[in-house]
């Protein structure tokens, strides 16, 4: 099914203009608020015509130093129908919070832990949200644009970057 068809089915259930595509930003990405995503996720997985059974990827994004927002991008795919959907959920930097889909797609467990680890986005409802790659006592979220490198770690002095390195 093409993107217009998928959006048609979603809007038929949740009401007109529930999801739409901003052609100027991206032609194949659906933008949602965290609340909308929480409502939509189980529907995408369960509806027979859509049947998005595979969560291909979850990516965290820091929209930039000037922006107030962090974002999470979900790449969904249906093994049965061979169609896909990209969903972009933005959330404010002050209280970054997105509903967890870990119980709908099991792979989201680790994906969400990784996004939490790197960006500090809280996944509401995740049963085991801990750091996955970094040590559990690490401070800060390294892939945020305003991240500052630590000068020491457990008393070990970290070498500064060499002069002239970008």
């Amino acid at each position: 099914m093409d993107l217009a068809g998928i959006i048609g089915i979603i809007n038929a259930k949740f009401g007109e203009d529930f999801v739409s595509i901003d052609e100027e930003v991206s032609t194949d990405t659906v933008r949602l608020t965290p609340e909308q995503w929480g409502q939509l996720a189980p529907f995408l997985r369960e509806t027979p015509e859509l049947f998005f059974d595979a969560m291909m990827c979850i990516t965290g994004i820091d929209e930039g130093v000037e922006s107030e927002n962090l974002a999470v991008v979900y790449n969904l795919h249906s093994m049965k129908h061979n169609h896909k959907l990209e969903i972009y959920v933005s959330t404010p930097k002050s209280v970054p919070k997105v509903p967890s889909v870990e119980q709908i797609w099991r792979i989201a467990d680790w994906f969400e832990r990784e996004v939490f680890d790197m960006y500090g986005i809280e996944f509401d409802g995740h049963r085991d949200l801990r750091r996955i790659l970094l040590p559990s006592d690490w401070e800060g979220f390294p892939l945020r644009k305003d991240y500052e490198f630590p000068e020491t770690w457990h008393g070990i002095v970290v070498d500064k970057m060499k002069e002239g390195w970008e």
């Binding site: 595979a54 061979n82 797609w105 996955i132 390294p142």
Partner: protein, 312 residues
């Protein structure tokens, strides 16, 4: 199947013991820590700690140009470097809307499939090694060595190639490479039967891998299993067929899937055998690509001075 441990022990429950496997352990093939909760012989729970292999590629690449990130993709999976280079290069080219020369497309498919053979040989060889069959491992590595020699002739490196670049590849095929590759294929094809004789249909190997570690289809998809492991669970899904990148849509090849020939669908034997059958498919693809390889042409597309994806 024999009597399971649960049946033998009945409802006897001892004290729970927590065991650490790793981070350094001969069977982890890398650094991985598993915290294992056991009740006698039965594992009740495993908590994996995977961060020991984290090397901050994303953070490194924040300070690099798009071309400079390619050696990092080599190291994501150091036995499938060509395929990783390929994926990254294609992604950047799509963002920049670059069309690469025809010859480059063929070269990429050939080296990627060669690398797939090398990677699968390592996979089936070391799998045998882990369940106690040492000899097949040596046979697999003998043949893998020939591919590494060809890659060394091609770009100087044996493992981390940095070969597929944005808009092209680093070197054209050297003189004699194509002939040597044909020779290798003629040599390699009969060897697949040798692996089958040594390992695939070996009774001890079957006993140790059939009906072990069964992954049902729905679990495999929900847990994001991909590639040969997913196909081992019986899903006929291959990116090269279902959503082709490069020029994979021009080649004839089959997608082997697990059938439960020795036990149930999606067991260790199925996942193993899918890889063996893929070796044959790789050979098919490489032959077709070598036959149709354009002899002349540049191996670099014209690129803008500064590589940056188009602003949307």
């Amino acid at each position: 199947m024999g009597v399971t441990i649960e049946q033998e022990l009945g409802s006897v429950h001892g004290e729970e013991m927590v065991l650490n496997i790793g981070p350094q352990h001969p069977s982890t093939h890398g650094v991985l820590r598993l915290k294992v909760h056991t009740d006698g012989e039965i594992i009740t729970k495993i908590i994996p700690y995977i961060g020991y292999l984290h090397r901050c590629f994303e953070k490194h690449c924040e300070n690099l140009t798009y071309e400079q990130a390619i050696p990092f993709t080599d190291r994501c999976d150091y036995i499938g470097s060509m395929n990783n280079n390929f994926g990254y290069a294609v992604a950047v080219e799509q963002l920049m809307e670059i069309k690469v020369p025809e010859k480059v497309e063929f070269i990429r498919v050939i080296v990627a499939e060669m690398n797939r053979i090398a990677s699968h040989l390592l996979a089936i060889g070391t799998f045998g090694l882990d369940v106690g069959a040492f000899t097949p491992f040596l046979y697999c590595f003998r043949d893998r060595e020939r591919i590494l020699d060809l890659f060394e002739m091609l770009c100087g490196a044996r493992l981390l190639y940095n070969y597929i670049w944005i808009g092209g590849v680093s070197h054209d095929f050297p003189v004699g490479w194509v002939e040597k590759t044909y020779e290798f294929l003629d040599y390699f094809e009969p060897k697949i039967n040798e692996y089958n004789d040594l390992l695939t249909y070996n009774k001890i190997f079957i006993e140790r891998s059939a009906d072990v570690g069964v992954i049902p289809v729905d679990v495999a998809i929900s847990y994001g299993v991909t590639g040969p492991n997913l196909r081992g669970s019986g899903v006929r899904w291959d990116l090269r067929k279902d959503d082709p990148y490069g020029i994979y849509d021009r080649f004839e090849f089959d997608i082997p899937i697990g059938t439960g020939a020795m036990g149930s669908v999606g067991d260790c034997w199925d996942r193993y055998y899918v890889r063996v059958r893929e070796l044959e498919e790789c050979v098919k693809i490489i032959r077709q690509a070598l036959d149709a390889l354009p002899r002349d042409g540049d191996v670099h597309a014209a690129l803008p001075k500064k590589i940056r994806p188009k602003a949307s």
